[in-house]
Subunit: 403 residues, 2 copies
């Protein structure tokens, strides 16, 4: 137990927005108000870039009513940034912390953000500056280590599941082959979530292609052909990050642009190229007339009014817990432990070291992927369904007995 | 007042599915059960093609619980079809009606479906067959004549508005230029709905391009450049049906395939080509690094768990009213009259002649489009907002005063 200093705090949000990253922000604000150790609570606009520019707002002054709406709003209410601070950048951040007497740093983000916390925390220790750096997890990709799952995933999973449920019913109404391209560069959790709403034996998605299972085009065509022959239709969920068996992603193979973000990532989202390419391949080679493709795009992470209640509540708790942990520890990342399953699903929060989360990512484990590598298992449904807060039931009548 | 025959009835759903077309179906079923004139109520699977194939299910046997879920399910629970019956096709339909003693025909669809009802009704009269053919309106395009608005539009409008609200907040968090491509081949109602959730002066969409206002690429680039210079970002809503000033659609200009459906329409949906083309033009000519494009695709019309309460209720009432009208009239189309506005919004249903609705469409009226042809007016918000059943409020904090 260390003595929490009486000083200012800063909170910020980094990386891709989610549907509940603002619930974590509100958790931090509400809990910070309860601790006299925290004097001012600054909100840094556009993440670390807002810290170095001292682009701060006063979060203690935001009314409870506004905070309630903030918590329910998608995207990052403080703005975000793709900056990945190096040592020099982190030094500038520390300089601002010293100047403004900021000794609490709450950073809501993914593994890169955990790493920024880690670097700054280390630098602060080296110069003997009493800083408490806390990472609050968020990512729709659900790929952080240690934590059972990540705030932001459940809401995106709910969106993807509801989209594919509706799309599958649409495909029943007007049969054909339908490709749905879903976010997730390296981890297939969100693409796997496309299957969470399946209720009938012949419900789609009938095929699910994940970044964890490189696949040749011939295999995709053969899989699709088999489903189409059997059902007269086929709904396919494809991760934007799927790769060929030579481990080059399909997106890389077809993209002519080589735009990369500052983390060295190729742009996969915000274009329909991969889905359209797959549609053209299937249409040309399988000679099926009605082939359609949708790329879910940014709607998956920022859609107004569609939070998972479970996800929103956990994100909020993560923000609260980060502040509580900061009162007793000099650094850490908040993580979630699952307690119970199904109707008895619950979650406990705990603190883990920044180093355990920083820079690392995880993928869908083997138990979640079917033997053929083109679908998910019941174990994944058990894992992910509770995080959506429940999905709507649907009915289709075309299967009823004929008279 | 004509004497309603004691006979069987058939109901079916045609064209593109919507989020509430099943609510209309359930309205027909529930009301049909109350009229002893209607003996069996057949559901024809896949629209007119199900009628000629006698692909019928018994709708009187579906339990109330299942019907409740049907009404809340997106897409067409009886399946759909793009078949556009000619005289020979309609004769086959009449033959089945005679064979099965079907004298009530309820057809839920757009202007093509109204036309099918019109043709069959005329044929039945010519041969003295006592048939009652009723059209129940549905279309996300909102382009039917006579009716104030169409069931299906309000739910699609809610989806589009919530998507753009979230996307605009995402664009605030990570600024750049964002293009959202929205359904609507000839009528811009749904694209216009992208602006219904605007709350702050600088909220997006900042530009709205509609099929009703042909526009040159130079004009789009100039508009986008002006917004980007002012706000450092720009969210653009574009109809899939926008055309150049030579009246050729942009989609036609760029598409290499010439796939047309049986109505002679070029395929616009189910591909990201238009949005990607616009993104490439803007990126290349305006030299902006972060340009992204999403095509909302089929999610707009078939998304599970996202009905407009107003739309769902009106769709349900339209189904009920069609059966009531059929007890007193030989044919007709159900239409909606608005009573009151804003908080006092209400709707009354009335019967109109099939000929008034068949084959015709309407576009956004001039009063709904701004002077520059790149945005909508307050009059459109007043018209369309009540149909969404209300939209969520959001908050963004990045505009708060700096400290």
């Amino acid at each position: 137990m260390s003595n929490a200093p009486k000083a200012n705090a800063v909170v910020s949000q980094s990386g891709g927005p989610t549907g509940v990253i603002n619930a974590s922000l509100v958790g931090v604000i509400e809990e910070a108000k309860k601790h006299p150790e925290i004097q001012n609570l600054y909100g840094a606009i556009h993440a670390v870039s807002g810290i170095v520019k001292e682009d701060f707002i006063d979060l203690m002054k935001i009314s409870g009513d506004v905070l309630k709406t903030v918590a329910a709003s998608p995207s990052s209410a403080l703005g975000s940034s793709r900056d990945k601070p190096d040592a020099e950048y982190c030094k500038k951040i520390l300089d601002v912390f010293k100047k403004r007497d900021i000794r609490y740093f709450f950073y809501i983000g993914g593994n890169d953000s955990a790493n920024t916390c880690f670097i700054i925390n280390k630098m602060a220790q080296e110069i003997g500056f009493d800083l408490r750096a806390f990472h609050v997890p968020k990512t729709i990709d659900n790929d952080l280590l240690v934590t059972d799952h990540c705030p932001g995933f459940g809401t995106a999973a709910k969106f993807v599941a509801c989209a594919v449920m509706g799309d599958d019913l649409d495909n029943r109404a007007l049969p054909g082959i339908k490709i749905d391209c879903i976010m997730g560069r390296h981890a297939g959790f969100l693409t796997a979530a496309s299957a969470l709403g399946k209720q009938r034996d012949d419900d789609g998605p009938h095929l699910v292609y994940l970044p964890e299972r490189p696949v040749r085009m011939e295999q995709i065509l053969s899989d699709v052909s088999a489903v189409y022959k059997k059902l007269g239709r086929c709904v396919i969920a494809v991760s934007e990050g799927i790769s060929d068996t030579d481990h080059k992603t399909w997106a890389e193979k077809i993209t002519e642009t080589d735009e990369r973000d500052s983390h060295g990532n190729v742009q996969l989202s915000g274009t329909g190229a991969l889905a359209d390419y797959l549609a053209a391949q299937i249409k040309g080679k399988l000679k099926v007339k009605r082939v359609r493709a949708d790329t879910f795009g940014y709607l998956q992470r920022s859609f107004a009014g569609l939070q998972s209640s479970v996800d929103a509540s956990e994100a909020h708790r993560c923000g609260i817990e980060a502040v509580k942990f900061a009162m007793a520890n000099i650094s850490g990342s908040v993580a979630i432990k699952r307690t119970g399953s199904g109707q008895n699903y619950g979650a406990e929060l705990f603190r883990t070291e920044l180093a355990n989360v920083a820079e690392k990512t995880k993928s869908l484990s083997d138990e979640f992927i079917n033997k053929d590598g083109n679908g998910i298992t019941e174990a994944f449904v058990e894992y992910a369904l509770p995080l959506t807060g429940g999905l709507p039931k649907t009915e289709y009548l075309g299967n009823k007995p004929k008279i």
